[in-house]
Symmetry: C2
Subunit: 327 residues, 2 copies
């Protein structure tokens, strides 16, 4: 099998030489194991954090070892009870073409009529992040005005659609005319183009004259500051990512932070893996899919070779919807 | 009567000429009114916000009008049922020596054996801010490690003592050896001297090697950043003041903001006036006082003339405990 390893710990934005493709021989199957051939790999912004050697909520990648990440594969050999050859499974042995795994490390895809790769997106980690962040962390309610940054991304585009399906007013932010148009097609009531040159705080004030009740943060920085500037009393912010600082040691500069006092704003960081019970998520999302309320967009790179390139494109806004690698 | 008015809206730190002492004649009492001679005036950092002409949780002071603020006075004339001459009352007609007020705007002091001016401090707004912020907003629990900034101030010194009385480990921050020593005497397990030259984040790391569970913020800026740097998973921050930015339009620069994601930190702004039921507060605090667990310190300026001076001294760390003006 072939796998991408971390060759060097990146400083700032990773470069090609931080990654190395290696060939390894996989062991024969032991009892309780399955052999999986990967069909789809996920690349996600949070992986940047695992490339640093610092304590975090997920352990750092080890130098010279295959990296991990979400993947969808097909079971081609099985010594595990209840997992038949041919089963499509999701698992965390991404960044490689094939893996031998204990059965408890793979999850057969839920019985929802969606393409397999959707389980790396709307029906996978990014979708859960959107769902739990919006509804559980930010406690968004029908009638709320919701602002979501990176609204054309895997998480943000799902936030937009869930919020609309639940009767909220939605303002998205995206970079460039094409993404802005797509977010509008997803149902957003207004979309800010953060590349337009207008400061985000000013642009948000124009489209949200009555303020915002919820902010779903994928970005940090000027978007977070804009949300603080226009937060209504009792606003709730769900902070799931700050792509702005992943590659960068620069501090976040907030002009409007003190407004959180007078407006009783709640800012809550969260990690999707804290939410263990997915029954409500699958039920709600399957219903939205059946009602035609879930659109999906994918940006697909073809071939294992392209995995680092796909990953790096996340940080230059290179994806519309979920960024994927197809093997 | 004499009263301090706002003569000009300050830019940055107020100066003497922003205030003017005026003489006014009070009207005769109407039915339901009382005449109060003030004995003690409160000056508090939040008043700075009311000097700006911006929408906030309390309306701005009007130019040329007497300013408002907490005060304790004695009823010297009464046309109100149930409020006898000689009753000591708390009310918001501060910054002046005398006032005519409707009965519903004055509260007779609760039946707790404390000096009248304590109802501007530990048994008044600053004490409630400490109590509700620590126990309700931050949900601090016995065993938690609590970090509190401005720990020698009216709010902070009460936070320290409530936290110790409830079985928490307490780290305070204060400026200068004398205040540091006083905070230690209040029971703090460790005290950082933020004027020592050591960055707050570094100093906090030294005294809190296992991190903090709660941060009570009176300051903002580098103290908030230090708290983010050392927040334990699930940490709760109660943000009650940011004295750092009251006089200043400079942005807050945070190096450690993104840590709130991995550590699921909750940052909650609050306003003490949202907490309307004070029964538990008075009961708890009276019990602590009776057990000798509440020490009090006051910094007292004498005479109405000194009110602006007392107010301005708040922003240069001129107070130990509650800043008061005695008439």
């Amino acid at each position: 099998m072939k796998a991408w390893t971390l060759a060097a710990r990146p400083k700032g934005l990773p470069v090609d030489t931080d990654f190395a493709l290696v060939e390894q021989t996989l062991p024969d199957l032991a009892e309780g194991q399955v052999r999986v051939v990967n069909r789809w790999l996920s690349v996600d912004p949070y992986m940047r954090g695992r490339m640093n050697d610092t304590k975090s909520y997920v352990p750092p990648f080890q130098l010279g070892e295959p990296m991990q990440g979400g993947a969808i594969g097909e079971v081609v050999e099985s010594k595990a009870d209840g997992i038949a050859v041919g089963t499509m499974v999701s698992h965390m042995a991404g960044w490689r073409d094939e893996a031998v795994l204990p059965a408890q490390h793979v999850q057969p895809l839920p019985d929802i009529k969606a393409d397999p790769q959707a389980f790396l997106g709307q029906f996978g980690m990014p979708g859960m992040t959107a769902y739990y962040g919006l509804l559980h962390v930010a406690e968004a309610k029908p009638g709320d005005t919701v602002f979501v940054s990176a609204a054309a991304g895997a998480v943000g585009s799902t936030v937009v659609q869930i919020a609309k399906a639940k009767g909220m007013t939605v303002i998205g932010s995206a970079g460039g005319a094409e993404k802005v148009e797509w977010v509008r097609q997803l149902g957003a009531d207004a979309v800010i183009d953060y590349k337009s040159g207008t400061p985000v705080a000013e642009a948000l004030g124009q489209v949200a004259p009555d303020g915002i009740d919820v902010y779903f943060d994928n970005v940090g920085g000027d978007h977070l500051d804009a949300a603080l500037a226009h937060a209504n009393p009792g606003a709730r912010f769900a902070i799931c990512g700050m792509i702005d600082v992943y590659n960068d040691a620069k501090p976040t500069s907030l002009k409007y932070l003190a407004r959180l006092i007078g407006n009783r704003v709640r800012i809550q960081g969260f990690i999707v893996s804290d939410f263990k019970d997915h029954e409500g998520f699958y039920r709600d999302m399957a219903a939205m899919l059946a009602e035609g309320k879930l659109k999906r967009e994918e940006t697909v790179f073809e071939g294992l070779d392209k995995t680092p390139e796909a990953f790096l494109a996340l940080f230059s806004g290179g994806n519309k919807g979920k960024m994927l690698v197809k093997l």
